[in-house]
């Protein structure tokens, strides 16, 4: 056992920390600190800074631009990035479709798509979920019918994050109706500018516009956009969903938010003194910090085991712990952040209209605390709800 980081890893952490401190554009960092959404331009600008450094796709194979870092360094990198805070690379390109393409795609697809993902020339979104298929993803009904050198796709995808910014979508589509549901699914890459693709926003309860419905009506997709083999899409999807879980605990984001909680609590008064000196408040904070510290060590145990076993991208089923506890902590921090601000969390701060000179509602720091609290209810729902995760632990880990 070596329970602390090696000097080389400590030095690596200093290096990435310094890089983030110096290179994250101030306005972008400020946007994240205040709990607002970064714009498309901010995101692209930042990813290109990362890419220039060679750090846009650290976990990819070296020949496609990866860094060769072991899982521990990948984890340190992401944690520091989140904690800065800096915008995390969009998972749809770098963690989802990218690895599917370099693992199952053909040479042309690799050459065509991978460099554009790394430099964010393309913005990818994910076309998996459908209105009728929630956790039971394989019951999807979007159809793709082969017609010469194209597929004709009809159906509807939903919960599609940032589809409004995307120019590409990777979709699971049904190509065979005659076989059990998992066996008739294919993995298609679809240009969002194709005729018949329509994006409609879904406004969430926090007033945010992150997610969308995507309607596909007689969309023609060239067969060269099929990844791997027809009807093998479910295998690629499972591979992809396995990757999705690697950074699910979001330790760095929670660390950042705890910093933010301290910052705001220092400025809020309670019974004549700053909230940050109130022992009851500190107890609530400490209870979260303890869980987070435990989760950080749990995460490091998973990561170092992964590094040893060499089974990159195939986290143990125990990583469901990371999802459950990680989401609980994220929800606890957004909740506490809202409660710090008390009644000041109540006003809805509408986006200022262009050209408006309306004053902010004070304190401005309170603007996003309630929307963030509402928005973060999603983290225990998406990517396999916490109930699904407990099913996984019960069956795969505990043998029940």
């Amino acid at each position: 056992m070596k329970l602390t980081l090696d000097p080389q890893d400590l030095a690596f952490r200093e290096e990435v920390r310094a890089f983030f401190r110096e290179q994250v554009p101030a306005a972008t960092r400020r946007t994240l600190v205040e709990g607002r959404h970064v714009s498309k331009d901010q995101m692209v600008e930042w990813i290109r800074i990362l890419h220039a450094k060679g750090w846009a796709v650290p976990h990819w194979p070296a020949e496609h631009g990866g860094t060769g870092w072991d899982p521990l360094r990948q984890y340190i990198f992401l944690e520091e990035l989140q904690r800065t805070p800096a915008p995390p690379p969009l998972p749809f390109g770098v963690n989802m479709v990218g690895p599917v393409i370099y693992t199952f795609g053909n040479a042309e697809q690799k050459a065509r798509f991978l460099p554009r993902i790394a430099n964010m020339d393309d913005w990818w979104c994910q076309g998996f979920s459908e209105p009728g298929a929630g956790s039971d993803l394989a019951s999807l009904t979007t159809r793709a019918v082969r017609n010469g050198d194209r597929y004709v796709v009809n159906g509807q995808k939903t919960w599609t994050t940032f589809a409004q910014y995307a120019n590409w979508i990777f979709c699971l589509v049904r190509t065979d109706l005659q076989v059990p549901k998992q066996r008739g699914i294919s993995f298609l890459l679809i240009d969002m500018r194709s005729p018949g693709v329509e994006v409609r926003p879904i406004v969430t309860i926090d007033g945010g516009r992150e997610i969308n419905e995507v309607f596909l009506t007689d969309v023609e997709v060239p067969i060269e956009n099929l990844v791997g083999e027809e009807n093998k899409g479910w295998d690629y999807a499972k591979f992809l969903l396995g990757n999705e879980r690697t950074n699910i605990a979001r330790i760095g984001i929670s660390k950042f938010r705890i910093d933010r909680i301290r910052e705001l609590a220092a400025g809020q008064m309670s019974n004549g003194k700053p909230l940050l000196e109130d022992e009851r408040f500190l107890e609530k904070l400490a209870a979260i910090e303890i869980e987070l510290k435990a989760l950080e060590l749990t995460q490091l145990r998973v990561v170092t085991e992964e590094a040893k076993s060499g089974e990159k991208g195939r986290p143990s089923p125990a990583s469901s712990i990371l999802k459950i506890k990680g989401s609980e902590i994220q929800q606890a921090t957004t909740d506490l952040l809202m409660r710090i601000m008390g009644v000041h969390a109540m006003p809805y701060h509408a986006e200022p209209r262009p050209g408006s000179n309306e004053a902010n509602i004070e304190p401005a720091d309170a603007a996003m605390v309630a929307p963030n609290y509402f928005n973060f209810r999603k983290v225990s729902i998406y990517g396999g709800s916490n109930e699904i995760q407990k099913n996984i632990i019960a069956k795969a880990v505990l043998g029940l």
């Binding site: 929630g134 406004v203 969430t204 004549g272 008390g342 009644v343």
Partner: protein
């Protein structure tokens, strides 16, 4: 002892519910306010000799639960409950005669302005000051998140005329015309779509006749008004929670996944049972609030109200968060009505202090020893 509605109460409940059904979600706007007034609900808590209906805290509870179920956004609590309580329990006869008829017929709207930046959930840690001046006082300060403050014609505002921040004495209540010189309002909607305002008082002149309660003794009126408002919010919260619970049951019975209704999962069944238990416990505490708000002893009344608000906040958070969780993605969308109820519940928790605040206050006051 009898927890069933009397015949009159049952009729009241039915009429309110029927009236509300005629309005679509979100339930707000001029016409709804007219219907609320026409039905006499704005007259409900006032005594008959002042044109009111002489309703007790029980009738308020019945109406507020219906408002909660229907998600009414109109400023009934700010104007009728909070404004009304200030008038009833502290105002001079002249002020009552001047204001109550307008509140009763709905033509006049009041609001209560107490919170400030830096006051936390305290009613006494305020910096707004009123300084004696020829024939009255000059009020200066800034009030935050005045619910109903956007439409209010008159605003009851708390200000220090003596003592220091945090002192129980030295707080005085003034009723101020919102159109007075020196009053400026920044209007907005809250997260749950209520009308509200930040209100600045910049050297606003108020006559002595517009003081509610004793000079420096406003806290006794204010705490009673706030207790009355909290009791009403507790009942409203029960209406909100009961709808969230129903919607969740409907959803998990009907929504299928892996070939079976979601509700076939025992884990979700137990969650729904836990929500039901929380709902029934919250309902009991809304009843308790209606009992305790009528207590004359301010200490006991306050502790009873702390207990009720703490339980309501706790239950509301559990039910709201689990309702969203059990709905999954659809519960996160603004189009589906659940989210509106969830946001309303969250805002009720934050209004006049959240569950943690009231639990801490109750502890500070010795917990519940000796309470009914």
């Amino acid at each position: 002892m009898d927890f069933d509605l009397s015949e009159e109460q049952a009729i009241l409940k039915q009429s309110v519910e029927r009236m509300l059904e005629r309005h679509a979600l979100p339930r707000g706007g001029r016409e709804l306010w007219r219907d609320i007034s026409d039905m006499g609900l704005t007259a409900l808590p006032f005594p008959e000799n002042l044109g009111g209906l002489g309703g007790s805290s029980v009738e308020t509870m019945i109406v507020m639960e219906a408002f909660g179920r229907a998600l009414v956004l109109e400023p009934y609590v700010p104007s009728v409950i909070l404004g009304g309580a200030c008038l009833m329990h502290g105002a001079s006869l002249q002020l009552r005669d001047a204001f109550i008829p307008g509140v009763v017929d709905g033509s006049l709207k009041l609001a209560l302005a107490t919170a400030e930046i830096g006051s936390g959930f305290s009613q006494t840690a305020i910096e707004t000051r009123a300084i004696e001046s020829a024939g009255g006082f000059v009020v200066t300060g800034r009030k935050c998140v005045v619910l109903g403050g956007d439409e209010a014609d008159w605003v009851v505002v708390s200000a220090r005329t003596g003592g220091g921040a945090g002192d129980e004495t030295g707080v005085t209540l003034f009723i101020v015309n919102a159109a007075s010189e020196g009053v400026t309002r920044q209007l907005y909607r809250t997260q749950d779509n209520q009308g509200a305002a930040e209100i600045s008082f910049d050297g606003v002149h108020v006559t002595r006749e517009h003081i509610i309660g004793a000079i420096g003794g406003g806290m006794s009126v204010l705490s009673r008004a706030v207790d009355t408002g909290i009791a009403a919010l507790c009942a409203e919260a029960v209406g909100v929670m009961s709808r969230m619970h129903e919607m969740t049951l409907d959803y998990i019975k009907q929504r299928k996944q892996f070939g079976a209704p979601l509700g076939a999962n025992q884990a979700l069944q137990h969650r729904a049972a836990e929500m039901f238990i929380a709902l029934e416990q919250a309902r009991s505490m809304a009843i308790y609030a209606a009992i305790m708000v009528a207590e004359e002893d301010a200490g006991n009344r306050g502790r009873g109200i702390h207990a009720a608000k703490a339980e309501i906040g706790r239950a509301g958070r559990l039910i709201g968060e689990q309702a969203v969780q059990l709905h999954g993605g659809i519960g996160m969308t603004s189009e589906y009505p659940l989210g509106k109820y969830y946001k309303r519940m969250t805002m009720i928790d934050l209004t006049f202090g959240d569950a943690d605040h009231h639990l801490a206050e109750l502890a500070r006051k010795g917990a519940m020893v000796g309470l009914l």
